[in-house]
């Protein structure tokens, strides 16, 4: 908590009847790249707006370097925002848009010019200075919005889906570019995305949110390998989620078989969610594995084959399998699972569970 640059404490926000944020606690360290990840409408933008000062929380406090900034107006906060809807000034050209913050700081015009040139170079828009905002494509506007924020070299940069309008290649380039900028300038990034791959590749810390509740906070590796509940598991990468029963420590039963696993500390015979990553499923000869499945479909996905299968016993469950090994459609194969491929999770609480079902 000591070296946090921004800290949210028990933030709640309600619009009308919907509780958009529910007792949100979050601490962001200096120079950290923190990503808010979650489905549409889960409150990511609202969180950023509260940090930026454009919305006031109903309850809770926002701290900047351990100073409560609840009542500080946005223009006094030492941070800049890349808005989800770009919010570029239509009455100014690209240059003036980017220079806006610098002009307010009353920088000499020569310096402004060189700063603007530099950031335009960073976002790949050399020579766009004189262009009208309305003449730019969505992706170009988005990059101007990024440039307008980073040119001020703020302590904290809030980015609300800043790469949403870019094509895959440009998006990858910009991801690297943003990451470089963040390291070079030592800026703390609070980044919003609903693209889990983007979150995994760029972040130091990921905050998975759903319905205004934090589901899990952790490093990309933790979040991917040790999802805390079925929602996180399902949202981060694809997963197979089946109902299971924990017999005792290290022993779980699902689809009618007992498996060895690495989890403990559950009640005896507690109902749990069992999460398995499709790439961890190992295909073997029929009857050579723990159980058999029938392959329903096979799709080539570039690097691997994606197969959908179902178990042939009473508890009919769907299995998603990623494998470089191809099986024949309609054939029966055996499946093996190692203990560390099986992730046991507590059943979701009713609140989170409801929304999860809706999805």
């Amino acid at each position: 908590m000591k070296n946090s640059i921004i800290r949210l404490e028990n933030i709640s926000k309600t619009y009308g009847d919907t509780k958009v944020l529910n007792e949100l606690n979050l601490s962001i360290k200096k120079n950290e790249f923190l990503t808010l990840l979650g489905p549409s409408g889960c409150g990511k933008t609202t969180t950023l707006k509260i940090i930026g000062g454009f919305e006031t929380p109903d309850e809770g406090n926002v701290y900047f370097e351990e100073q409560c900034i609840n009542t500080l107006p946005p223009y006094k906060r030492k941070l800049n925002t890349v808005f989800q809807k770009y919010a570029l000034f239509p009455n100014m050209n690209v240059f003036e848009n980017i220079a806006f913050g610098l002009r307010i700081k009353k920088l000499p015009s020569l310096e402004i010019e060189s700063c603007v040139k530099d950031v335009l170079n960073m976002v790949n828009l050399n020579g766009f200075e004189k262009r009208d905002i309305s003449s730019l494509s969505g992706g170009q506007q988005q990059r101007v919005a990024i440039a307008r924020a980073i040119v001020n070299k703020p302590d904290v940069l809030l980015l609300d889906e800043p790469l949403g309008a870019l094509d895959l290649k440009l998006r990858k380039d910009m991801q690297i570019e943003l990451k470089n900028i963040q390291k070079q300038l030592g800026i703390t990034f609070i980044y919003v995305t609903h693209d889990q791959e983007e979150a995994l590749t760029m972040s130091d810390t990921i905050v998975v949110m759903n319905n205004g509740l934090v589901q899990q906070i952790g490093s990309p590796v933790d979040i991917y390998n040790e999802p805390q509940n079925a929602f996180v598991a399902d949202f981060i990468g694809e997963s197979i989620i089946v109902d299971g029963i924990m017999h005792e420590d290290f022993v779980v039963e699902f689809i009618g078989h007992k498996f060895e696993c690495l989890d403990k500390g559950f009640d005896k015979m507690e109902a749990v969610d069992v999460v398995i990553r499709p790439e961890d499923v190992k295909i073997v000869e029929k009857d050579a594995g723990k159980f058999n499945v029938v392959i329903d479909s096979v799709t080539f996905k570039g690097v691997h084959y994606e197969m959908v299968a179902h178990t042939d016993n009473v508890c009919d469950t769907k299995w998603l399998i990623h494998s470089t090994q191809k099986a024949v459609e309609g054939s029966t194969v055996g499946i093996n699972l190692e203990p560390n491929d099986i992730h046991i999770m507590k059943k979701l609480s009713a609140e989170v569970g409801d929304s999860y079902e809706e999805k």
């Binding site: 454009f54 107006p73 946005p74 223009y75 941070l79 806006f100 307010i104 309305s134 001020n152």
Partner: protein
């Protein structure tokens, strides 16, 4: 499809020809031709007469009064529209209602009402007397005319301004504040420039009726202040000089069209949708 559409437009053509094109041609005709010894000859006599000092004076007075009233309308109307467009303002509907309600009343009636307020023994002076303040003789002065113009045309200023201001993207204001601009800078650099189309239509919609009015100057100016509108009306109704009346109308029209052209050009440079 196309044929169908142009067919639907016929009634409008008929309307336009009867009520716009024919009267305009008549004006042109009377302004530029006169009958002499049973023959009709082209003449610039009537147009030239406009440039006599006495008429130029009337014209300038009209312009000055209209400019002053338009400026006052802008100064009063902008803050009003700004308050009305504010999302958090509580009595918004009430205030909006007050702005619009006079427009439901007859124009003449509204102006007559001011007579009873401004009269020597009118409501205003009664109040002043009651407060032991010196009475004012505003009626039949330029002030009364300006007051009448501001009163009558203020809604035409407020409504277009209200429209642009209430459509303004809150994200733009947030973005400006995010970049360090305080409320005043946000207004100067973002809100006001973006509301210019509304300012331009507001000015056009107040200035045009103000410069051509004759009712207001007649009732509240009491004939003391002749405006170009009165002059034109007089040519037709009193002096029975249709030719000169038409010439005056023509000149006024040309001047208005020219100034509108300038306005529109200015507006295009600043982008955005306005009245024209």
């Amino acid at each position: 499809m196309k044929k169908n559409k142009s067919f639907c437009a016929y009634p409008y053509y008929v309307w336009m020809i009867t009520f716009i094109v024919i009267p305009l041609l008549l004006v042109l005709w009377y302004a530029l031709f006169k009958s002499e010894n049973d023959s009709i000859v082209f003449t610039t006599e009537y147009i030239k007469r406009f440039f006599e000092p006495i008429y130029i004076q009337v014209f300038l007075r009209s312009i000055v009064l209209a400019v002053i009233s338009t400026a006052i309308c802008l100064v009063i109307g902008y803050p009003l529209a700004y308050i009305l467009a504010g999302k958090t303002f509580k009595h918004k509907n009430m205030l909006m209602f007050l702005v619009i309600v006079p427009m439901w009343m007859n124009f003449l009636l509204r102006t007559y009402a001011w007579l009873t307020i401004l009269e020597k023994n009118g409501i205003l002076n009664q109040i002043l007397r009651f407060l032991n303040l010196p009475t004012q003789n505003i009626l039949y002065t330029n002030y009364a005319v300006i007051l009448g113009m501001v009163y009558n045309y203020l809604p035409f200023m407020v409504l277009p301004l209200y429209t642009v201001l209430s459509k303004m993207d809150i994200n733009l204001i947030n973005a400006a504040e995010d970049l360090g601009a305080n409320k005043l800078t946000v207004f100067k650099k973002v809100v006001f420039p973006l509301s210019l189309p509304g300012v331009v239509s507001g000015i056009t919609m107040t200035f045009m009726p103000a410069v051509t009015t004759f009712v207001i100057s007649k009732l509240l100016g009491g004939g003391q202040t002749t405006l170009i509108g009165d002059l034109i009306e007089n040519q037709f109704k009193v002096a029975n000089d249709w030719n000169f009346g038409s010439a005056l109308s023509l000149i006024l029209m040309v001047i208005i069209l020219l100034s509108m052209r300038v306005m529109t050009k200015y507006e295009q440079e600043n982008e955005g949708g306005g009245l024209f």
